[in-house]
């Protein structure tokens, strides 16, 4: 099926992602922030779909929105809301933060202007049906070592978390 109204959906999703991002840092209520983050993640999943990467989109939903954000909420729910509301939202580091954001933005603009050769001329169109297989080939072929290293890293993190959480083992 040919995509319909590509431009419209791109701007819609991008706008939603940005809106979510802004809400994440401006909401005082941590749960609302988390919900805004979920909005961003879902919008990103939509963008992945538009880039003909359905597998990545699916994984984005199942892992980030469905898994990790639930654990986020899990923790946030146990935090006292009243206390968080009283606390100052933007502390004195906001100048540094602003500078960093401006620097990053400048970098992006610079790269976009100067390094347009980096980007492909036309949109790459991998066949939709074999997209998932291609990811698998890359992941378990060319990048197998990196993949396994990442797994090991996660395993270390899991063990560390268990050690820290459990008083007695």
């Amino acid at each position: 099926m040919q995509p319909v109204a590509t431009t419209f959906f791109f701007y819609l999703l991008a706008g939603l992602a940005l809106l979510g991002g802004v809400l994440v840092i401006t909401r005082k209520n941590a749960v609302h922030s988390a919900l805004a983050l979920i909005l961003t993640l879902l919008a990103l999943a939509g963008l992945y779909l538009m880039l003909y990467a359905p597998f990545v989109a699916g994984v984005q939903i199942i892992l980030y929105a469905g898994g990790i954000m639930v654990l986020f909420l899990f923790v946030i729910m146990l935090v006292s809301i009243e206390k968080a509301q009283r606390e100052e939202q933007f502390n004195r580091q906001w100048v540094v933060g602003l500078l960093a954001a401006v620097a990053l933005g400048a970098l992006f603009v610079f790269v976009y202007v100067k390094g347009s050769a980096l980007f492909p001329e036309r949109m790459m169109l991998p066949p939709e049906s074999s997209n998932t297989q291609e990811i698998a080939t890359y992941l378990y072929g060319d990048y197998l070592f990196a993949f396994e290293i990442a797994s090991l890293l996660l395993l270390v993190a899991i063990i560390g978390a268990v050690v820290m959480a459990k008083k007695r083992i």
């Binding site: 146990l78 935090v79 006292s80 009243e82 206390k83």
Partner: protein, 384 residues
Amino acid sequence: MPDATKYLSHLELGQPDKTFLDSNELIINMGPQHPATHGVLRVILKLDGEKVLGTECVIGYLHRGVEKIAENRTYTMFNPYVDRMDYVAAVSNGLGYCQAVEKLLNVEAPPRANYIRVILTELNRLASHMLWLGTHALDIGAMTPLFYTFRDREEILKIFEKYCGARLTTHAFRIGGCLYETYEGFEKDVESFVRFVRPKIDEYEGLLTTNRIWLERTKGVGVISGGDCIALGVTGPVLRASGVKWDIRKAQPYANYPEFDFEIPTGQNGDTYDRYIVRMREMRQSLRIVEQAVNKIPEGPIMAKVPKIMKPPVGEIYHSIEAPKGELGYFIVSDGSTQPYRVRVRPPSFVNLQALDLMVRGQLVADVIAVIGTLDIVLGEVDR
């Protein structure tokens, strides 16, 4: 000296409710309006996550001042009130009260009355255990046994209804014996009920006894040792499930229980599963007693000679019977007038409920529900 702190823990509720992050403790209020607290029991739970650190029972929501009422009624007038305490075992309550006053009056119920009393009391024990089983299983999440037990309890209530016109708060007995002669076909009804209900008890057991989830939910849950039971005054099936073979029907028999051949089932581990097994076996023993009684029931008068206006001599008496929940005692002080000077009810549910804290400490919230169910409390009796 027993270690007092083991039994006497109280929540320090004075401090403000801390937030979750500040401490891991969560104070949660269960009841008085809660589906699993069997009425209006309110339990304040101190939790660490789902683990119970301590409990405190708040009772009295159903307090009607039964003991005060007794002081303003004559002995006969007070008789129906006792049915309203443990309302699922009203016949047992009546038996205890009538026998206590009979003792005070120094009269004996005639043999036929005693047989009728034993039959009805044991049927009532069955009814009480059935209600317990249904609600206990419902608490643990098994819906179906509730309807099975209520279906069969209905047959018992029908016998009560035919005998004395009431189903729940029966007021079946009078001081000195029974008021009503058995109706036509009473023996046949009871016999056919016994035949009817035996396979039904197997049916309940088929649903639960070897059910894996049931075993996991009940084994090792709410363990209480025999020593702790005695220290806390816990009686009835709970005590017997902890391995103490003590039943007032055998230890200090009343009515004509010595004439019947029955056993006292006991458990070993004192956990919820053993209490379940003990009660199931008790139901079978009750059927045995009923069967024997109905076969041997003699002819004769059903009422002893008691004066119309009862004025027991000055004195006091304590009489206790084995109610379905445990030792139900009546302590009656007479000043020689028509009204008792003081009636004290020793309620088994009230005393048994005290063991809740010991039984659930260190366990999970779901176990609190299981333990409240297994203690088989009736709030009407706890609060009186």
